[in-house]
Amino acid sequence: MSLRIVGATGRRCCSQAESGVRLLSLQNAVQQAFRINNHMSSCNLHYGNRFMTSMPDPATWKFRSKALPATVSDLGSIRLQGKRELVEEIVRQNPALVALHARLNLPESFPFKTLARALICRTANSDYVDNRELAELGSRYLEYYVAEWMVCTYPRLPMEVIGEILWAYTGPNALASVGGSWGVEALRGYGKDEANMSMVDKMGFLKFGRVVKKKAANLKEYREDVKLNSDGKVISLKESAQFYNDAMSDFVRSVIGGIHVHEGRDACKLFIEEHIMSRYVNISRLFRFVQPTRELSRLCWRENLQPPVSRMISETGRQSRSPVYIVGVYSGSNLLGSGEGASIKEAETRAAINALKSWYLYSPSKVMFPSNTEGDPSRKFVPSHIDQGQVIV
C-alpha cells in the first residue's frame, strides 16, 4: 500500500512496518462504520451533504475520508489526522477535570473524555484529538440562541447594537471570562514545568500553543509577533501563541457543542441560558446617536405621527451657576420622551435620545422564540414582530 500516515507535525508518525498494521485497523473501522450506519438518520453528524453509497475500495481510499462516524460520540473521527482518541478511564484520573465536570453540573452521560478534548486546542499540537470541530458546532448554537433571544426580545434593535450585544455575550473576551469563571487554567506547551508533567496531569488544563501560519510538505511556519522600530527595521521577532482569549473561548464553545451532541438540543439551549444569557448587558448604554432630534423627526414622519415639538416641562436656576431644565418631546399631546440638562439644548437632546431609545428598545409583552416550538409539534408557532428597520435620515 502506498499510504503515508501523516502526523500532526507533518512527518511520518509511524514506521513502514507499523503502517501496514495501522492501515488494516483503519480499514476495519471504515467497514464497520458502514455496516452499522447504513441509515443516515441515526447519526447526529454528517460531513456536509455527501453520503457514501458504496463500500470504499481500500486501495484508493484516502486517509481523510468523508466516512460517517460510527456512533454519536465519534466526534471528528472523520478528521482524526493521525491523532489518538482519549481514553475515559485514564482521563478520569485527573482531579481537576473531575471537579470541572461536577462544577458545571454536567450529567453522567457527558463523557469525561469529551471535556478533556474540549481543553485541547488545535494549536497545542497534541497527539490527541482537539476541540476544533466541537468549538465550531458550539459556536453556531451559542450565537444562534443569543441572537434569537436578542432579536425576538428587542425587535427594533439596530444592526450595530446587535453586533455589540453579540460581542458582549459571545465575543472572545466574554467567553474567556466565562471559561475563567469555570475555574479552568491555561497551560502552554513549552514551559519548563510542563515538560515534566505527565499526560494525565495535563488533562485538566487548557492547552494551546503557536499559531500555524503556513504549512508546507514537512515544515510549518508559525505566526510571529514582529516589533519594528521607528525606521521600520525589525528589532524583535517572536513566535506568537494563540491568544488566551481565543483559546479559552474555543473551550467554552466546545463544551456547548459537546452538550448538544451528548445531551441534545434542549439541554444545550438550557446550558447557554444558564451560563451565558444569565449575564447582564445594559443595552440602553450601547446606543450613540448622531443628531437625535433630526432622527426623531424622521421617525415621526415615517410612522405618521405629528412632528415632534420640544417643550419645557420645568426649569430652575436660570441665570444661576447651575440651572436644571427638564424638556419633553411631544408629538401632539403625547409625550415621547423627556430629558434633563444643564442647558436647554442639552435637555432637548437628551429628550430626543430617550424618545428614540424607547422606540428602539421596544419589547413585546409576550416574547415568542422560534426555538420554543422545536421538537414539540403541539406548540403553535406565533411569528415575532419584525420591524421595518432603522430610521433613514
Binding site: 481537576a96 471537579a99 462544577r103 460581542w167 458582549a168 448587558v281 446606543f287
Partner: protein, 140 residues
Amino acid sequence: MPINAVRRGIAEARNGVGAFVLPCKRLTFRYCNWGASSVGMREYLHEHLKAFSDKNKCIEMVVTKKRGQPVIIGDYMNGRQKVICVGNMRPHEIDEKAKLLSDASGNKLKKVTQPVQSINESPRGIWSPFHELEQFRHRI
C-alpha cells in the same frame, strides 16, 4: 444618520442568576510528616478528607507534604487565594476551616453596611424635585 454603537465591555457575570458555579475551585491541604502541629491534620487527611471531598465534588482537592505548619489553601475564581494555618488543631476544627474556605467567594473581606446589594436600578425610581406637580414644587 447611522446609529453608532459603543462598546461598553463584556456582559457582567451574575453567578447564581442562571447556574451557580462554586467560586472555590481548589483546596490544597499541606501537611508535615514530622511535626506535632500536623497531628490533627494528618488524622483529618486519613479519616475525614474523603467524606469532605465526596460532599464537595466540584472542588479539586490537593494534598502536599511540606515541613512546617499545616495549612489549607483555597484557590478562587477571581484569582485570589485564602490561606489558613491549621497548626495544633483537631480534625473537627480543621473541618470547620475547610468548610469556611469552601464557602468563601475569594473576595477581600468587606464590611457590609446595607442589607441589599444590587446592580439593578431602583424599581420605583429616584425622587426628582423637578417632576413634582406644579403646586407641590419647592420654592426658594
